[in-house]
């Protein structure tokens, strides 16, 4: 019942694009399409949540679609239901936002047909129960999001971003295709049900893991496969950027969990090592890259890379515990990872909405041209601030809870017997702590340079607040960030079904019955956290201070020019900029991470030229991995190019030669 509701909602969503657009006039189609998608997403979200909280058995459905003798299999278990809920929560918020934001699109018809398809495809990936539907939906998701990235195809850099995205997406799908081929075995058992019961030899299992890390990992944006993400995500219209960063990367995480935890069979302990190293490197490098960006949307996209790293750390810990049959540890680590999936989808969507609002209001994405927007866009600024605080893992908001749970999982990992893990896990803990601290610096920069200070350009001076729909969507997500932070027990309880399914029966103890709604993952003697009490405490103390100061202290407020040690400079370019804010951190970490070089160009004495500071950052990963590949492909194609201009005789000779080669190979093999 629930599953068919979900599939109908998907169908309605996909139809919305096809049916409404031709009927409506060019500029009135947007609200209709987005409104329909909003309704479909809300229904799907409610259905998934109902399924998740009821703890019902998995539902399956086979439709006579796709390959004739196979049919299309769909299944809704707790894991799928959780991800359906995440996808549609993000989708509903993005659609609400787009009802207002979409009006400002210059070419709405480049976005509208693909948007519902993109959302429907993401839902289908999560609901798929055979390899064909999974890959079909995955590719549909890639292509529709590619089309959305190319919506502003004439903007500078978009064409390159789209090209790299397309190449990486094709590569990722190819890897997944091969992984499913291995999982299906020689009998071609393409349903997930058959894969669950099949047993693979260990060498093939390893190959599956590597292929899945390449395929699903490249979509999620793990280092070193992240290069496309900070190009493609910001190039799309902002509500689509929010979906790509907040939701599509989660679908990629779903792909990894689905295959590694449920289909590939029992994991080996060193799988955890691989996933943990990838997670740690992704978290630290992602946030360092983010800190160096001046483009607000690109900063957010790089920061998605960091959060994927945090999720991978949780998943790696879960794998480590699971192979050693420490089921409570696995449950804790999985809860942390899934909680972070939800959290990141909330605050990253919120922040992309905010950046879209800034882009709409000023036409600028470059932080160096912004500033002072808190006066002109108060609602956007307040919600963006909540998003920034949440993503920086500050209590009492939601980002802190998932990082706290991950830390708790790290703290029980000395029980792991393998030496490799014993050495690795503390280092991963340090990487996680470092990335959390750097994230705070990153978002002080993002908020401080964009919204605070004095406006740096006339565009920033002329900014106005965005429309009510956009504001509503941002406020909605900000409230959810606060709620998930102060009532984490409810989220953990909702996740317990998913965790039980993945760990074969163990989950964290029920949280909702605990006094004061606190969060006690293992035992009260070990650790507990209560966001609600902290929030109440903070509200109480700050009110107390404010009230008592009102009574006791002077009320006088005088507005005056800024003090600035007695020598204020009226020009807004004397403010700290994004580049100068990041300079200390660039000097500390940039040397090894980016081979950062700074060069100061001082004018000759008496010259009227301004002094200039040139900063050069190099992406090691692009230089080491991608540039050689690019060069090799260019070299080969250059050589093969001559094949285009041969005579018919030479082609026949080539065909003959190839035939001889193949036949002799065949003869030797047999």
């Amino acid at each position: 019942m629930v599953l068919s509701v979900l599939l109908r909602a998907m169908a309605a969503m996909a139809l919305a694009g096809g049916a409404i657009i031709p009927v409506c006039r060019r500029h009135s189609a947007g609200p209709w399409v987005y409104g329909t998608v909003l309704a479909a997403c809300s229904i799907a979200f409610a259905a998934a949540l109902a399924h998740l909280s009821s703890g019902a058995a998995p539902l399956t459905l086979t439709l006579p679609l796709g390959i004739p003798w196979l049919g299309a299999h769909f299944r809704l278990d707790a894991l799928s239901a959780f991800f359906v809920a995440v996808v549609n929560l993000g989708g509903a918020a993005a659609s609400l936002y787009a009802i207002g934001y979409g009006r400002h699109e210059s070419e709405p018809l480049r976005t509208l047909p693909f948007y519902p398809g993109f959302l429907a495809a993401m839902n289908l990936v999560v609901l798929a129960d055979d390899a064909f539907v999974f890959l079909f939906a995955w590719e549909l998701m890639s292509l529709s999001s590619w089309a959305l990235v190319m919506a502003h195809h004439r903007a500078e850099g978009t064409a390159r971003a789209g090209y790299i995205y397309l190449v990486m997406a094709g590569f990722g799908t190819l890897c997944l295709l091969l992984a499913f081929g291995l999982l299906a075995g020689s009998e071609g058992a393409y349903t997930f049900d058959a894969m669950r019961h099949g047993a693979l030899p260990e060498s093939l299992q390893t190959l599956v893991l590597i292929l899945v890390l390449l395929g699903a990992g490249s979509k999620a944006g793990i280092v070193p496969l992240h290069v496309w993400l900070p190009l493609a995500h910001p190039a799309a219209p902002s509500h689509v950027s929010a979906l790509m960063s907040g939701v599509m990367t989660k679908v990629a995480v779903y792909g990894l969990i689905r295959i590694v935890f449920t289909l590939a069979g029992p994991p080996a302990w060193w799988w955890a090592v691989i996933v943990l190293i990838i997670g740690g490197a992704t978290a630290v490098l992602g946030v360092l890259y983010a800190l160096m960006q001046h483009d607000l949307k690109r900063l957010l996209a790089y920061h998605t890379v960091e959060n994927i790293g945090i999720i991978y750390i949780g998943l790696g810990l879960a794998l480590a515990f699971q192979t050693n049959h420490l089921s409570i540890g696995a449950a804790l680590a999985l809860t942390a990872a899934l909680f972070h999936v939800l959290n990141h989808s909330l605050f990253k969507s919120l922040l992309f909405f905010g950046s879209g609002a800034v882009l709409r209001a000023t036409g600028e994405r470059d932080m160096e041209h912004l500033g002072g927007l808190i006066h002109r866009m108060p609602v956007t600024a307040a919600t963006f601030l909540i998003g920034c605080a949440a993503i920086s893992a500050l209590p009492p908001l939601n980002g802190f809870v998932s990082e706290w749970l991950t830390f708790q999982a790290i703290l029980i990992s000395p029980d792991l017997p393998q030496w490799g893990l014993k050495f690795l896990v503390p280092a991963i803990g340090a990487a996680l702590a470092l990335s959390a601290a750097l994230a705070a610096a990153c978002f002080v920069k993002a908020f401080g340079i964009t919204f605070l200070g004095r406006p740096r350009t006339p565009h920033a001076v002329a900014a106005t607040e965005v429309d009510p729909c956009s504001r509503g969507a941002m406020a909605f997500l900000a409230v959810l960030c606060i709620l998930a932070g102060v009532l984490p027990g409810l989220v953990v309880d909702a996740l317990s079904g998913v965790v039980r399914e993945l760990t074969a029966g163990s989950s964290l103890p029920a949280q909702s019955g605990l006094p004061w709604l606190s969060l006690v993952p293992l035992s009260t003697a070990r650790s507990s956290y209560n966001g609600l009490i902290l929030l109440v405490f903070l509200t109480f103390t700050s009110t107390l201070i404010a009230v008592s100061l009102r009574r006791l202290a002077s009320h006088a407020v005088r507005r005056a020019p800024a003090w600035d040690c007695g020598a204020p400079d009226a020009s807004p370019i004397t403010q700290y900029s994004a580049g100068s804010f990041a300079q200390p951190i660039r000097r500390v970490f940039g040397g090894f991470a980016f081979r950062a070089k700074e060069r100061v160009e001082m004018p000759e004495p008496g010259s009227m030229q301004p002094a200039r500071l040139h900063v050069q950052l190099r992406d090691h990963i692009w230089d080491i991995i991608f540039a050689p590949i690019q060069k090799a492909i260019a070299f080969t194609t250059e050589r093969l190019n001559t094949l285009q201009f041969l005579t018919i005789r030479s082609y026949l000779a080539l065909v003959f030669g190839a035939l001889i080669l193949l036949l002799s190979g065949l003869a030797l093999w047999q």
Binding site: I374, S392, A393, L394, P395, F400, W404, F407, L411, S413, P414, P417, F423, V425, P426, G429, A430, A433, A436, A437, L438, A440, V444, K445, G448, L452, R454, A525, R526, S527, S528, Y529, I533, L534, F537, L538, T541, S542, I545, A546, A553, S554, A556, V557, R558, R559, A560, P561, A562, W563, D564, D569, Q575, Y576, F581, Q583, P584, I585, R587, V588
Partner: protein, 316 residues
């Protein structure tokens, strides 16, 4: 039940009242070490009182964030300080935030102050915020690694339980504890803007970090920020005392006499902390800003080493 509330309230009040005294004490001892007379011990209270009576001069373009940041910072630091065991363990709400959450709460305060530094749009505010975040980006992981080591040893992240564990017979002499002690001291110096990381007394613009960040504040807002700095220093002193010198603390449910003894022991520990801090500060020079990451990085590495040692020795 009522008694529990009272003790929790007492702790909140105590940290608020004692905090300026601790700073006054440090200043006094430092002055005496330099053979100066030094201000009275009560000078910080007088400073706060003076600031509270003065009007607030707000920069023309200061936003609402600038006005709420001092209250947010003060409230978070006060709440964090109220959750660190001082004279008694197992307070009514001590379970609502463990050591990790307390470190993160201090992060919340720093986040808002750093934003306020950028709000007016002056270069001093910017330089202060940017350097404060750079220092924190190394000091906060160091603190967390110290928290990890202590939690691994004690099997809990709750400060009350860690203190009880340190009192028990199972601790013994451990290398990890020594490493963590040094790491915590360095991180505490960095977080409180003390010499050699930052100079709390300087008004030479280019050498200040924390003071540059809050340069635009005046009146009651500045009082809140100064007060928050006092409480923060007290918090770190209590944190180190509660972990490394947990003697004399009352347990939950002890009688009023035990609480009184606990308060006396706590005051003695604070006195000791003030002496050590003052002696240390007078015997070293302030570092250049870009030497700091090495200094604080040492703390991070010590913390990591301590955690690693525990992970490895756990199975031996």
């Amino acid at each position: 039940m009522i008694a529990d509330w009272l003790v929790q309230g007492l702790q909140m009040g105590l940290v608020l009242i004692v905090a300026p005294l601790l700073t006054g004490l440090v200043r006094k001892i430092k002055a005496r070490l330099l053979r100066r007379q030094g201000p009275s011990l009560l000078q910080p209270y007088r400073d706060l009182h003076r600031l509270l009576r003065k009007e607030v001069v707000l920069a023309d373009n200061a936003s609402w964030l600038f006005r709420i940041a001092p209250y947010v910072a003060f409230a978070t630091i006060w709440v964090a300080a109220a959750l660190v065991p001082t004279f008694a363990t197992g307070l009514l709400f001590s379970w609502s935030a463990d050591m990790i959450a307390i470190v993160a709460l201090l992060g919340t305060a720093r986040f808002f102050l750093a934003l306020a530094g950028l709000d007016v749009g002056t270069s001093f505010g910017g330089i202060g915020s940017s350097r404060e975040m750079m220092i924190a980006s190394v000091a906060e992981p160091a603190l967390l690694m110290a928290a990890f080591t202590l939690s691994l040893l004690a099997g809990t992240t709750q400060l009350s339980s860690i203190a009880n564990f340190m009192l028990s017979q199972h601790v013994g002499l451990r290398i990890s504890l020594g490493l963590v002690f040094v790491a915590l001291l360095i991180a505490a110096l960095a977080e409180n803007a003390r010499i050699p990381v930052d100079n709390p007394a300087t008004h030479l613009e280019l050498t200040m970090v924390h003071e540059a960040m809050v340069l635009e504040y005046s009146g009651r807002h500045l009082a809140m920020i100064e007060g928050a700095a006092f409480v923060k220093l007290l918090l770190y002193a209590s944190l180190i005392a509660c972990v490394f010198a947990p003697w004399g603390m009352a347990a939950a449910g002890d009688g009023p006499l035990a609480y009184l003894a606990g308060i006396a022991a706590y005051l003695v520990k604070l006195l000791l902390a003030a002496v050590v801090l003052a002696v240390f500060e007078t015997s070293v020079a302030k570092m250049r800003v870009f030497r700091l990451p090495e200094f604080i990085g040492t703390a991070l590495m010590l913390g990591l080493l301590a955690t690693l040692l525990l992970f490895v020795t756990r199975s031996l």
